[in-house]
């Protein structure tokens, strides 16, 4: 299923986020009014549109409230992002809204306005620096593999309807896995949205809808995905 994403504001942040997303499974639309930025976006072959985000009609015209699944509020001002979040939330209750914040106080306002996820670049940067000081080796591995160019990823796999894994034990999954993967943990649907790590935890039964989080090369991940969907 292709997800439709509307990205408000074209800048470093949106460029990195878009490039990171799988282009095949995401339909991305950039909303920008600055002609020079539109030109830059078009050079990268992104779809762009110039609308006024302050008008509900314009928002609806690009598909918010209909087929847009996610919006990125990456406008330069916190107040603009709050306004956009508020308008979009009013149009669509189920929209997944991700917003960037500049100043720390704006985060609460964005949450109150209805954003699902707040991205605070400075906070993230600060945490990153902290991680680099405290655990340099692990941070480097994650940077170079999961976020980097190397083909090593953390992936989540949802157990589909009729999977062979349904009604088996987590311990069996770990012992019988053929692929070159490390299983981090499992989110059991019944137990809420909490990740249970596999190492030394209580053995539980898997069910349809549970999510397995694994680390490994993409071919192994794909093979594992195929196997889980196997009846």
């Amino acid at each position: 299923m292709i997800k439709r994403i509307a990205v408000f504001g074209y800048n470093r942040l949106s460029f990195d986020a878009i490039s990171r997303l799988d282009q095949k499974s995401h339909d991305i639309l950039i909303i920008e009014t600055d002609p020079s930025l539109i030109k830059l976006a078009q050079e990268k072959a992104f779809k762009t549109i110039s609308i006024d985000f302050r008008s509900d009609g314009d928002l609806k015209s690009i598909g918010i409230g209909q087929d847009i699944d996610i919006i990125f509020c990456f406008l330069p001002n916190d107040s603009e992002n709050v306004f956009l979040t508020l308008s979009a939330r009013a149009i669509d209750k189920n929209l997944n809204i991700i917003a960037v914040v500049e100043s720390a106080q704006a985060a609460e306002k964005l949450i109150a306005a209805g954003a699902n996820k707040i991205i605070d670049p400075y906070q993230i940067c600060g945490q990153k620096i902290y991680e680099l000081i405290k655990k340099p080796d692990i941070t480097h591995i994650i940077d170079h593999t999961v976020f980097g160019r190397h083909d090593l990823h953390i992936a989540e796999i949802t157990i589909p309807e009729g999977s062979s894994l349904d009604n088996t034990y987590a311990s069996e999954l770990i012992q019988n896995k053929k692929q070159d993967l490390v299983i981090f943990g499992i989110v059991y649907n019944k137990l809420g949205k909490v990740l249970h790590f596999t190492a030394g935890e209580q053995d539980r039964k898997l069910a349809v809808g549970d999510i397995i989080v694994v680390l490994g090369p993409s071919r192994e991940i794909n093979a594992f995905k195929k196997e889980t969907s196997h009846v």
């Binding site: 942040l13 600060g126 620096i129 405290k134 692990i138 941070t139 981090f184 943990g185 990740l195 030394g200």
Partner: protein
């Protein structure tokens, strides 16, 4: 012959390690402001002085018993030892002799013992007449029996307290910095008092019907009046006398306020320097800390995390507003430009700092600070923030170990959140140690139980740990599959069961905090026993 013996003895002292060590010990005990011992000694001396003064006050109305006498002897002994030791530490006599001897030898002239002796005595005399040495001496002398009359001088022991705290030095520094103003004021006041004394004496002497008997009374009255204290024991009776009084009181108000304003202004000027001194002295107590350059949003975030972690750090920022924020949060902060060599040296880049974070909002400043730091300390870890893509390479060139771009990683995280929210939260919670499960590294130290062990012998399942991989720069492992270049090492993901661990390999482990810690302890122990 005698001179030669002395020179020989000086060389002997110079070579003698025991002598140097002893002298260093007493230097640390008495004079070295950075030594821990000195602060203990100062505390001990303060107690001693207070106790001895307590006995002095007590003896005014009571008679002391033997214990108090013994205590007094002990105090005197300590005071005398301290006085002599400080005199000994003040200059290195043997070094003066050696210097003079070598100079004479080089110039091919006769070594003059007399001249050298003069120099030595000159040095020691300078000690004897230094302010604190006089105070020390005055605190001792009254205990000498023939000088018992001077017992009141024991009050000088209280002055000794100043030696053990910095406040007197600060106060005298402040006064010295305003020398010119204070002298002007003193001269003006001298004239004023002189004129007023003469005037009041002329108006208020006995024959004129006043209370002033002589010039000393007049002087006393002037001082009491000019300071606006006005006891009222001597009051003017004549019209002329009252006029003098009114004039003197009004001028006195001016003089007083002038004096106060000079002192206040001087303290204000010195305050910044004083605060900075306090910052540096606090910094010198830290064993290992991190220098954060730039206290913007990123710097604040890192500082909060370090604080939660108990990690010591110091902030350097050019912007006064940011420094104010830092001070309000009670962080150590220096208001200066981190691109300055001297600022970084003062902040301890070569002393206790383990890492430098360049987190200012300007890439130019970050490159400059990185370059300066790398130049000053080739070993230190430098992590720098880059706001523009182009700056990343420049920062690496300048010597940064790691470069972080806030918007880039924020973009990556936003994408990760969209694609795989669960995986995203997993990484976050592991990195931030929000759950009990953490990711950590174990180093294979030489001779430990891990060395030359195969993965299947590690018994990870029983230890309730998950092995993610091994970081190593060892070429032996190259034949194994799934290796990824990470910096100048390789990360071997999910190594096979026959993977043999080598010295200095790093295991990347996922598990509960305490099972990792337990394993870590076992490894450490095993490497010690063998």
């Amino acid at each position: 012959m005698f001179a030669q013996a002395i020179v020989y003895f000086s060389y002997f002292l110079k070579r003698n390690k025991q002598y140097t060590k002893t002298k260093q010990f007493f230097f640390n005990l008495l004079e070295n402001p950075e030594s821990q011992m000195k602060s203990y000694f100062d505390g001990f001396m303060i107690c001693l002085v207070m106790l001895s003064v307590f006995f002095l006050v007590y003896s005014v109305e009571h008679t002391l018993n033997d214990t108090a006498e013994w205590f007094e002897q002990f105090v005197i002994f300590i005071f005398i030892s301290e006085y002599l030791l400080r005199g000994w530490l003040y200059s290195d006599t043997h070094r003066i002799i050696i210097n003079e001897y070598e100079k004479a030898d080089y110039l091919n002239i006769k070594f003059s013992l007399f001249k050298t002796l003069k120099q030595i005595i000159g040095k020691k005399l300078r000690y004897i007449f230094s302010f604190f040495a006089i105070i020390d001496l005055l605190a001792i002398l009254p205990s000498y029996r023939p000088l018992r009359i001077l017992r009141v001088l024991l009050i000088f022991r209280l002055f000794k307290l100043f030696r053990y705290s910095n406040s007197i030095k600060i106060f005298s520094d402040v006064l010295i910095s305003k020398r010119f103003e204070l002298i002007t004021l003193a001269i003006f006041m001298g004239f004023l008092v002189f004129i007023a004394s003469i005037a009041i004496y002329l108006f208020e002497n006995k024959s004129a019907g006043g209370h002033i008997r002589h010039l000393y009374d007049a002087f006393y009255w002037s001082i009491v009046t000019i300071s606006t204290v006005g006891y009222g024991d001597i009051t003017p009776q004549t019209v002329g006398g009252r006029l003098v009084t009114v004039t003197l009181i009004l001028t006195g108000l001016g003089v007083l306020s002038f004096f106060t304003s000079i002192i206040v202004a001087a303290f204000n000027d010195k305050m910044d320097a004083l605060r900075e001194n306090r910052t540096y002295s606090e910094l010198s107590r830290f064993k290992s800390y991190i220098i954060i350059c730039g206290f913007g949003r990123v710097g604040q975030e890192v500082a909060e995390l370090f604080k939660r972690d108990g990690q010591d750090f110091i902030i350097i920022d050019k912007d006064e507003k940011e420094i104010l924020v830092a001070k309000q949060k009670q962080f150590l902060a220096i208001h200066d430009d981190a691109g300055n060599n001297s600022v970084l040296i003062n902040a301890g880049i070569n002393r206790g700092a383990t890492a430098i974070l360049c987190a200012t909002g300007s890439d130019i400043a970050n490159v400059y600070i990185t370059l300066t730091s790398r130049h000053l300390n080739p070993e230190i870890t430098i992590i720098s923030r880059a706001n523009r893509q182009d700056s990343e390479n420049k920062l690496y060139q300048a010597g940064a170990n790691d470069v972080i771009q806030p918007f880039k990683i924020a973009g990556l995280l936003a994408a990760e959140y969209i694609g795989q929210p669960v995986a995203f939260e997993t990484i976050r919670s592991i990195l931030h140690e929000q759950k009990q499960i953490i990711m950590d590294t174990l180093i294979v130290s030489s001779n430990s139980l891990l060395e030359n062990i195969k993965i299947d012998q590690l018994d990870l399942e029983n230890r309730k740990l998950t092995l993610l991989g091994v970081i190593s720069s060892n070429i032996k492992h190259k034949k194994h599959r799934n290796h990824y270049q990470v910096k100048n090492q390789h990360f071997y993901f999910n190594p096979e069961q026959h993977f043999e661990l080598q010295e200095q390999d790093i295991l990347v482990i996922l598990g509960r905090k305490y099972s990792i810690e337990y394993f870590q302890d076992q490894i450490k122990q095993s490497s010690i026993i063998l």
